[in-house]
């Protein structure tokens, strides 16, 4: 195509845009908003897809994961006994890094705060491509007390002053088993004795790292040499593998040209001598670093939280659906406006334009308009990215190069102009100049394609509306589900931590009793269970009942916990100080536990607790199942011991009166600081903490609602335009019908009928598509809403109402106009 002709096309395009301002505005606005949302969604999708793709050696970096074929589970936390042996005996491994996140109390600038500390082996910077701003990354780990902090961390605590050379100290309570001191409990059974020591570690800031980007699974603040993890009381078992341990993530970088399958095979012989239990047959799986973000099968005790790839698929589909909707709107708008351009097409044809030249012209016009929209939307999407980030809770940035932006603009504009421009171009170029000049050219707009367009829009509208309803109801379900306890007005105070601080239980009980005397406090219960801890509940242990063994979580409650927090005893009784045996061997179990034993009357039954030398325990009560984990996870058997003076109490649950809660919290804090000085008063409102578990779903809900709202708006606009156009086209017919005595009602009915069949088809397709995806998504959660028919009925009804009311508005206008006027212009 010659430039001169393009120039002529451009001129016509601009003059047409200026002449028909409303049309131009609607089209450009549609594309602009559609493209802006599309760009946002694609930025999100791109970010999700590009997790950890920035590492230079990404093709050689893998996460080692244990797979057990009998239960088909993948365990992401890697036994240290294995990683040590792999490093020793597998020469194909060029570099290996243990990686472990831990929330610890640290002292910076004289103040104690809780921060996430990340322990990593010295090869960290050789393996991963995080950029350092100061310090030599390759010497990380040479000094066991030298740490690297992120820019954000440095700014947060040191402001503009140079953080290099500053000290971060942490305080750790170390428990060492005293092997030579054997104590006996009142029943004469031996129990371990611990030496409890509070130790302080000082770290020297040796380097500053650029903040890890959003698209990495390793979001660290402070990098501490891994050797400290062990010093700081996280004793790793180096001799054999014991499942359920709190373990690091293990990354390996293989030498160039190494086949990971060979390594996975080699692993089997290596692991054999380490296994005590014959039935346990672990296998090695090496996950490419780029796949970790989507590896939802790895769980559940992994500090890296993968997301489902379904989200990326669905968001891409929504993005494309939005473009499809605005394109269809553009097509309909162009076609309905095209009669203004009949003459021009006729003239061009008699002036020597071939059909293909007319096609080019219209596609070029669309391209031009879409290009304008694209440029505006680029600007708009940059400006509104903070809003999108707030919706998604992400920190997305546009980090694409100018080259790829230009390429994307041209490709997307070209694809869209083909999509949106081709149909009208083909229709328009097929016009017959003879008919145009005779004045009897009509558009074949009611063809099968137009019907497909309408139906597509109905389908998209139904899918998006029902999708938005489903995602919102699931989130609502999370927020309102009966958890088996009452989470309102509860302040959770973290006291001790398995691997962190260790405040003496006596002191905690004193604090608890003092807290109870404060006004506004209804109860203060002690427990080892951290609700809302996202899977952090003490490891599964074993109970034997006859020949059966029941793997169960073991926690402890003090006797107030059950009534104060609203747990329900459905059989037997709560702990009570009236029974001295309660502190020794009584347990309360959940319904799931009872189901696992498989007996009718569990009360009074005796079991052997394998963890403590087959200690005899007796079931005294059954508590209704409660969600100690997020609703994604199934409830498993739980056994509750009575929390006594010597048990590890990780939390105090303070139930408060809803009035003056802030004041009460201040008083609790003051009491704490007086009694236990130097320890952070670490608290959170339970309902907030629980809501936090569903951050991902909340983000998900927001994105879907946001993009669906945009899509639905445009779909409705399109529907409105279409119905309007159909009614306009039939103005003459309606006029004639009226002259012949048809009532307004019968005219409206005939218009409605035309669309009803299309709606019916769309409802069937739309509901099936939506059902399919919703079903897949809901499978991510052990507890979820049922896909009730009403969700789909509601979506279908909404679309039907929109269409019918549009028809009614337009039809009543058309039908009630003076029919003589409609016919006069014939």
């Amino acid at each position: 195509m010659k430039f001169q002709i393009l120039n002529n096309f451009l001129k016509i395009a601009i003059r047409n845009l200026l002449r028909n301002k409303l049309f131009s505005f609607i089209s450009i606005a549609g594309f602009t908003v559609g493209l802006t949302v599309f760009i946002h969604l694609m930025t999100f999708v791109h970010n999700e897809m590009s997790y950890d793709s920035f590492h230079k050696n990404k093709d050689r970096i893998f996460r080692a994961v244990i797979y057990t074929p009998d239960d088909k589970e993948y365990y992401g936390n890697y036994p240290v006994a294995l990683s040590i042996r792999m490093k020793e005996s597998m020469p194909q491994i060029e570099n290996a890094v243990n990686y472990l996140d831990k929330d610890l109390e640290i002292k910076v600038n004289g103040e104690f705060i809780k921060e996430k500390i990340t322990f990593a082996d010295p090869g960290f910077f050789k393996m991963f491509s995080f950029r350092t701003l100061a310090g030599n990354p390759y010497t990380f780990g040479n000094n066991p007390n030298g740490v690297f902090v992120t820019q954000a961390f440095a700014e947060k605590y040191f402001g503009s002053s140079n953080p290099l050379g500053k000290i971060i100290s942490t305080k750790i309570t170390e428990r060492t088993i005293q092997k030579n001191i054997i104590r006996k409990n009142p029943k004469g059974e031996p129990v371990h004795s611990y030496k409890v020591e509070e130790k302080s570690y000082d770290f020297l800031i040796e380097g500053i790292v650029e903040n890890p980007p959003d698209n990495t699974v390793m979001k660290f603040n402070v990098l501490v040499p891994f050797i400290n993890a062990e010093k700081m009381s996280m004793r790793f078992n180096k001799e054999d593998i014991s499942p359920g341990e709190f373990l690091p993530t293990f990354f390996v970088m293989l030498k160039k040209g190494t086949d990971k399958a060979l390594l996975e095979a080699e692993f089997k012989s290596m692991v054999k001598p380490l296994i005590r239990n014959e039935a346990y047959k672990p296998e090695l799986r090496l996950y490419p670093i780029e796949k970790i973000h989507f590896s939802t099968e790895i769980g559940p005790f992994s500090s890296i939280k993968p997301v489902s790839p379904l989200s990326v698929l669905v968001l891409s589909i929504i993005g494309i659906a939005i473009l499809l909707i605005v394109s269809i709107n553009y097509i309909n708008l162009t076609i309905s406006q095209s009669s203004h351009r009949f003459k021009e097409i006729g003239i061009r044809k008699v002036s020597g334009a071939s059909r293909s030249e007319v096609v080019y012209q219209f596609i070029w016009e669309s391209f031009f308009m879409i290009l304008i929209s694209m440029l505006i939307s680029l600007l708009l999407s940059v400006l509104t990215l903070p809003v999108f980030n707030r919706i998604t809770g992400k920190e997305l940035t546009f980090s694409f190069g100018w080259g790829s932006i230009a390429l994307a603009i041209i490709l997307i504009s070209a694809a869209l102009s083909l999509l949106a421009g081709a149909y009208s171009a083909i229709v328009m170029s097929g016009l017959d100049p003879v008919k145009i000049f005779k004045g009897n050219q009509k558009l074949s707009g009611s063809g099968i394609l137009a019907k497909i367009f309408v139906t597509t829009q109905f389908v998209l509208a139904i899918v998006l509306i029902s999708g938005a309803i489903i995602v919102n109801s699931q989130y609502d379900f999370f927020m309102k589900a009966d958890l088996g306890y009452n989470k309102d007005n509860v302040l959770l105070i973290r006291t001790n931590d398995m691997f962190g601080r260790m405040i003496s239980d006596n002191l905690l009980w004193v604090y608890r009793n003092q807290a109870l005397n404060l006004p506004g406090i209804r109860s203060a219960s002690m427990s080892s269970m951290v609700l809302g801890g996202n899977g952090h509940i003490v490891a599964q242990l074993r109970f034997d009942y006859g020949s059966k063994f029941i793997p169960s979580y073991v926690i402890n409650f003090n006797e107030e916990m059950i009534p104060a927090m609203g747990f329900k005893i459905i059989e037997g009784r709560n702990f009570s100080s009236a029974y001295s045996s309660d502190s020794l061997n009584s347990i309360i179990v959940n319904e799931e536990f009872v189901k696992e034993i498989g007996i009718r009357n569990p009360i009074g039954k005796h079991l052997k607790f394998s963890f403590i030398n087959k200690k005899d325990v007796q079931i005294v009560g059954v508590v209704k199942n409660f969600h100690y984990m997020p609703l994604h996870e199934k409830i498993l058997p739980v056994a509750i011991f009575k929390a006594g003076n010597r048990s590890s109490n990780e939390c105090i649950y303070v139930k408060m009166s809803p009035r003056n809660m802030q004041k009460t919290v201040v008083q609790l804090k003051q009491t704490w600081e007086k009694l236990i000085p130097g320890q952070v008063f670490d608290y959170v409102f339970l309902d907030n903490k629980l809501a936090d578990l569903y951050k991902n779903e909340n983000r998900w809900k927001n994105i879907i609602t946001y993009s669906s709202a945009v899509a639905i708006f445009f779909a409705c606009m399109g529907l409105f335009g279409l119905v309007f156009y159909q009614a306009e086209k039939r103005t003459k017919e309606i006029g004639i019908r009226k002259v012949l005595g048809a009532s307004t009602f019968s005219i409206i009915r005939s218009l409605v009928n035309e669309f009803l069949i299309l709606i019916a088809i769309a409802i069937i397709i739309g509901c099936s598509v939506s059902y399919y995806f919703a079903n897949k998504w809901l499978k991510n959660f052990a507890y979820h809403i049922d896909l009730n028919a009403w969700i789909f009925i509601l979506a279908a009804l909404l679309v039907t109402v929109i269409v019918i009311s549009t028809i009614l508005i337009i039809a009543s206008r058309v039908a009630s106009t003076n029919s003589a006027e409609n016919l006069r212009y014939e």
Binding site: K2, N8, E344, V350, A353, P433
Partner: protein, 229 residues
Amino acid sequence: MIKTNNLKKIFTTEEVETTALNSVNIEIKEKEFVAIMGPSGCGKSTLLNILGLLDNPTDGHYSFMGQEVSKYSERQRARLRKANIGFVFQSFNLIDELTVYENVELPLLYLGIPSKRREEMVNDVLERTQIMHRRDHFPQQLSGGQQQRVAVSRAVVARPKLILADEPTGNLDSANGEEVMNILTRLNEEGTTIAMVTHSPHDSEYAQRVIHLFDGHVVTENYKEKFHV
């Protein structure tokens, strides 16, 4: 230049067949000026459209410049048309969004003529139709006569061998009509073949020959004594 043999055109709608042309045999020689006359609906415009390669006949033969074109595809007709035929319409048919200059330039664009040459050709024809002073105006800013002069300019700018005019004076007052007819006559004198559909006996006076159509048939052909200088 033009020769038709038993030309037939039938329009078919769902139930009715209308015969617009039936066994039309006409011949138009190069450099001739022919008028086609007849009552409304007699098939004049249909004939002109077929002669102008805008439409194909249902049956019969049509030879244009020695080529049998009755079965040509749209693409073939478009190619032949753009190099050889110019059209003038009763309702001018100018593109409202283009200036006088741009309207006239249009056929040259589709012929792929370089811009400098185009400018010469357009200016030349605008001079000859005496509309040069309106070069950068839009059609709505012109009178009917001026618009028709622009339309004629566009029809002839590519120097076609044949000009087909469909009632070129139908929307003009007599003074403007006169002027347009004079332009056409001058073009004919310069060697362009012209076929013109008209209702006006006065306009037909300018032609050398008049073909009368009635109900799709050629009824008479009158030669006039007119001399070329």
